[in-house]
C-alpha cells in the first residue's frame, strides 16, 4: 500500500514536470538547471518546515491560520527566493524556461513535503491523491506563476529587483492560500488545480514560443549581418562602425581592437547558440562542442581587458547580459 501512496504523491508532479520539459521544442532547460531547481525546491521545503514551526510558536498561530496564511507566505517566499537566484544567475532566458524551472522548484518542494508526511503519517489513498494531484501540482503551479511574473518583471526593468518580485510573490501566495482554504471539496479543488495549471502553462508556452522564435530569427540574421560587415571591411560605414569611431577619442587603440574582437566573438557565439536552438527545433540533437570553451575564455579575457567602462560603452549594440548572457548556457559552456 505504501508503494501506491508514494506513487500517488510523487508521480503526478514529476510526470507533469517531465511533460513540460519535453514539449518545449527548443529544450531551453538543461538537465543540470532542472536538477538544481528540484534541489533548490527540496532545500526550500526543509527550511520552510523549520521556519513554519518557529513562526507558529512565536505568534501562537492555530494550525488553520498557519496552513491558510503564514505557511503559504513563508513557503512561496522561500520557493520564490530560489527562482530569484536562478534568474540572477541567468538560468532562464524566456517565460517557458522560467515556468519550467519554477514548476521544478515547486515539485522539489512538494516531494520533500510528501516524503515527510509519508514517513510520519498514516493517511488514506484519497488524501494521497489530493496531495499528489492537488497540493503538489499547486506547489509547482504557484512557483511557476511566480517565475513567469518575475521573468516578465525582469524583462520590463531589465534586471531582477526586489520591488519587481513583490507582485509575483503576492500572486503565488494568493493561489496557495486559496487552495489551502478548501473552498471547494478537496477532490474538486484537486480537479480544478490539475486542470487549470496545465491550461495556464499551455497559454504561456504558446505566447513564449512565438517570442523565442522571433528572438532566434531576428538575432541570427543581425549577428550574421555584423559578421558580414566585418568580413567585407565596410563596418566603418555602418551604424556600429560610426559608433566605434566615436569611441576612438575615449579609449586607447588596443582597447578599441579588443572591443572589435569582442563584438565579433559575441556575434560568433550568438550564431552558434541560435544555431543549436534552430537544430533542436528541427528535431536534431546537437552535441556540445568543446572548441567553444576557448572562445568563451577569450570573451572573458576581452571583457576584462575592456573593463566595465568599455563594456558599458558597447551596451548600445552589444548587451552582454540578460538573454545574451543566458544564451551561453545553450552552448553547454559557462
Amino acid at each position: 500500500m505504501i508503494g501506491l501512496h508514494a506513487a500517488a504523491s510523487f508521480l503526478p508532479v514529476l510526470l507533469f514536470l517531465a511533460i513540460l520539459r519535453s514539449v518545449d521544442p527548443y529544450r531551453l532547460v538543461s538537465a543540470r538547471s532542472l536538477g538544481l531547481a528540484l534541489l533548490g525546491g527540496c532545500v526550500a521545503a526543509v527550511v520552510a518546515f523549520g521556519l513554519n514551526g518557529v513562526i507558529r510558536d512565536a505568534l501562537g498561530l492555530s494550525e488553520l491560520a498557519l496552513s491558510r496564511y503564514a505557511g503559504p507566505l513563508v513557503e512561496e517566499f522561500l520557493k520564490g527566493a530560489v527562482v530569484a537566484i536562478l534568474l540572477l544567475r541567468n538560468r532562464a532566458g524566456f517565460l517557458v524556461d522560467a515556468a519550467i524551472l519554477g514548476f521544478a522548484i515547486g515539485a522539489g518542494f512538494a516531494c520533500v513535503e510528501n516524503l515527510y508526511l509519508l514517513t510520519t503519517r498514516d493517511l488514506g489513498l484519497a488524501t494521497w491523491i489530493v496531495r499528489g494531484f492537488g497540493t503538489a501540482i499547486m506547489h509547482g503551479g504557484a512557483t511557476a506563476v511566480f517565475a513567469i511574473l518575475a521573468k516578465l518583471a525582469e524583462e520590463r526593468r531589465d534586471r531582477v529587483t526586489l520591488v519587481g518580485l513583490l507582485p509575483p510573490l503576492a500572486a503565488a501566495f494568493a493561489l496557495h492560500s486559496l487552495f489551502n482554504h478548501f473552498v471547494l471539496p478537496p477532490l474538486l479543488s484537486t480537479a480544478v488545480i490539475a486542470l487549470s495549471v496545465p491550461l495556464l502553462v499551455a497559454v504561456v508556452f504558446s505566447k513564449s514560443e512565438a517570442s523565442t522564435r522571433d528572438w532566434i530569427v531576428g538575432g541570427f540574421d543581425a549577428d550574421q549581418e555584423v559578421l558580414q560587415l566585418m568580413e567585407t571591411g565596410v563596418l566603418s560605414d555602418s551604424r556600429v562602425g560610426h559608433y566605434l569611431g566615436e569611441l576612438k577619442a575615449r579609449f586607447p587603440g588596443e582597447i578599441l581592437v579588443d572591443m572589435l574582437c569582442l563584438v565579433r566573438l559575441e556575434a560568433e557565439l550568438s550564431i552558434r547558440a541560435k544555431g543549436i536552438l534552430m537544430m533542436r527545433e528541427a528535431g536534431f540533437d546537437p552535441k556540445p562542442d568543446d572548441a567553444l570553451k576557448a572562445k568563451i575564455h577569450e570573451t572573458r579575457y576581452l571583457e576584462e581587458s575592456i573593463g566595465s567602462v568599455g563594456r558599458r560603452a558597447l551596451d548600445p549594440f552589444l548587451r552582454i547580459r540578460g538573454k545574451e548572457q543566458w544564451q551561453r548556457s545553450v552552448l553547454g559552456v559557462r
Binding site: F220, I271, G275, M278, M279
Partner: protein, 94 residues
C-alpha cells in the same frame, strides 16, 4: 528574389536571396524531394535564418528515410555561417 530549381541530376539550384519572404517558395520545392539531393549554393547571395530553417527541416525529413542533403558551392561567408552555427554537424558541405 529567389530562383530555386530542380534538375534531373538530383540537384537543387539556389540563386538570389533565400530569406523570410522566399521561405514558403523554398519549402514547396524542398517538400517535393526524396532520397539524397545536392543543393548548389553557387548562385546564392544571401541566406537568412528562415532559409536555414527550411534546409534543416528538409534534412531532418530526408534523414528519417535514409536520404540527405549535400551542400556545395557555398561562398566563404555562407560556409562560415554554417560552421559557426554548427550546421556542419548536420550537413555534408563540399
Amino acid at each position: 528574389m529567389l530562383d530555386i530549381t530542380r534538375d534531373d541530376q538530383s540537384t537543387v539550384h539556389l540563386k538570389g536571396r533565400m530569406d523570410a519572404s522566399q521561405a514558403d517558395t523554398a519549402h514547396e520545392v524542398m517538400d517535393g524531394i526524396d532520397g539524397t539531393w545536392t543543393v548548389d549554393f553557387s548562385g546564392l547571395e544571401y541566406i537568412s535564418s528562415a532559409g536555414l530553417k527550411v534546409l534543416l527541416a528538409t534534412q531532418q525529413r530526408l534523414w528519417e528515410d535514409g536520404g540527405e542533403l549535400l551542400l556545395t558551392g557555398m561562398t566563404p561567408h555562407v560556409k562560415m555561417v554554417f560552421e559557426l552555427a554548427g550546421f556542419d554537424s548536420v550537413f555534408k558541405i563540399s
